[in-house]
Symmetry: none
Subunit: 198 residues, 4 copies
């Protein structure tokens, strides 16, 4: 139905505006007015599509984490070898200072609040699980290819990979220096490789 599609577009439009607003202003400072302004809509219409501010944020986190996961997944599937997949995966993660900054700014805000909001934790857990499935797949393939250490349990290695990635990107973000993006990317890649290789 047309109405449904239009409606869905409006929601996406608002979500994207919310993403931009959050990235620019942060959780504490952002207001529905700013989101509405970003979406070039009135404040009222935002409430028409979402019950309240929280509903926007929940849906935004869902939308955002799914998008990131799908990107990473697609990047991995472009390659056939374990090393190729790993590299492609990390390339899609460390995509650019601009994109990493805007995503991680918002993502950090969500993580900070996830401690108190169950809905966020659940969404984030799904995100973790999805990402873990990618890593797990790569590790398994690498072991089949006999280039990754056999003693590694793919399931318990995935969180470590995630940890190194998140930890590096957070440190990079805190450094506020774009030129270090490549440095952290390489460090991250080397560490993961070192961890996996025989």
């Amino acid at each position: 139905m047309v109405r449904y599609k239009k409606s869905e577009e409006r929601r996406k439009q608002i979500l994207f505006a919310a993403f931009k607003a959050l990235s620019d202003y942060g959780f504490e400072t952002v207001t529905l007015q700013i989101i509405a302004d970003n979406a070039q809509l009135s404040k009222g219409v935002v409430h028409y599509y979402f019950d309240n501010k929280e509903a926007i944020l929940v849906e935004l986190l869902e939308w955002l984490t799914l998008k990131i996961y799908l990107k990473e997944r697609a990047a991995t599937q472009e390659q056939d070898t374990a090393l190729g997949k790993l590299e492609s995966f990390l390339n899609s993660v460390f995509i650019s200072p601009e994109e990493n900054r805007s995503f991680y700014r918002v993502y950090l805000d969500f993580l900070a609040r996830a401690n108190r909001v169950l809905a966020y934790r659940e969404i984030n857990q799904r995100f973790y699980d999805n990402c873990a499935s990618i890593s797990t797949e790569i590790v398994l393939l690498g072991q089949q290819e006999r280039i990754f250490a056999e003693h590694l349990s793919p399931e318990s290695t995935a969180p470590i990979i995630r940890a190194i990635i998140d930890g590096c990107l957070i440190q990079w973000l805190m450094s506020d220096r774009d030129e270090l993006h490549a440095v952290f990317k390489k460090s991250c890649y080397d560490a993961i490789i070192h961890l996996l290789m025989k």
Copy 2:
């Protein structure tokens, strides 16, 4: 203009109350009233000791990160060997579900805001540098003891160690399951050992 010397104990009392309040409620929800209630003081007295809410938060971050660093440092100095120091260091980091939760909840809040507040970034950078000095020292000692890989640059290894620690603790925090604390601790330890050992 006469400005009175404020009692240091009161400041500490308020900072600790702020820490507890932040851990319980989060940045967004916490109010000066809650902080004052936690400190069993009136709202006014909080403003008597701190110019404004922001000043409390800045000083809290400073106090908190310094305290953590000193703890980690003290733990490391209790041991003489690289492996002993590393283990002691990680024990002081993964101290207990309760302490890790309360600290990381607040710390995540700070990281989230550090993107927009220079003061927080600067304090955090100092914290990073301090922590890095501990890791660097351990790596160097391990190399002297001929048990850690020589090809590792101590300076560029430190951030990876930090990344694994932070990344693991964040994932643990998001899991909201105390029983996983030990699991993440072990994974973290194993990964770091694997990274460092010959």
Copy 3:
């Protein structure tokens, strides 16, 4: 960013309520709540139309002084002779105990603050200049009619006329006696006439 065009009538309504509130309570005592109550509006709506309390006051002074000036000007233009204009002018100035009291109460508050607030001083200066133009015109006409002393400089006489008017009305206001309004009016008129006539 979409900024909505605020209804002019509402602004006027709030300004008038602010005028009444100021006249009743004075600068120090008046609150936004009182202004809102006077306007029969909620506190929030006042902030919807004005950025802050100061903005209301600035606009109020501007509105008030312009209104007074236009009244005086209109009164003067009703007459053709110098004496007629002067009388009409003073009639519009000494209009009634009620109106003079409410205006001068507020005006005195503004003058008191104008010492520290440039914006007020500027608005008041414009008011002075406008009022001076009226007096100057009357003096010039009177000189052309050969009934006012030629040696008077119209430009330097205007401030003296203003001084006598303000000085008299302040003294009347301080007396807190409505029945003296007519007395001060006559004294003021006589003094100005004495000053101007040959």
Copy 4:
């Protein structure tokens, strides 16, 4: 008794500090802390000597207006002729930009509040009466000397003189230009002379 004298000195010290504070900050902005700081005393001691803030202000107005009156009176008594007295009187009124500014700033604040506070009005009325007695005396003397117009009623002329003085000084204050002090002084003098002389 020593205690009484010490006590009186403290009160004066506080009053003078309050005068300076009011002149610098204005009624709205001034706080007891600022007054105490100006007096180089603690906040507590101010409350020891005065019941509350209002009591300070009332006594300040009383002290200030009396001081001004005595000054004007003394200046007048230095001369013997009507014109000499008038000139001396006006010299003591238009004393200097600095002194006039600090006094009129505070005085305007008091006038503004006098509308609502009976105590201020009463003190001010006494000040008016005192000042009027000076003017009345000068006018009477001038009439005896046959240089002032006989038809003037000394009692009703005094308020006009006061009006011209206050009106001029307020306009000068609002101009915020020290160099106009002499100009307004001369205008004021000329107008009064013109009003009084035959």
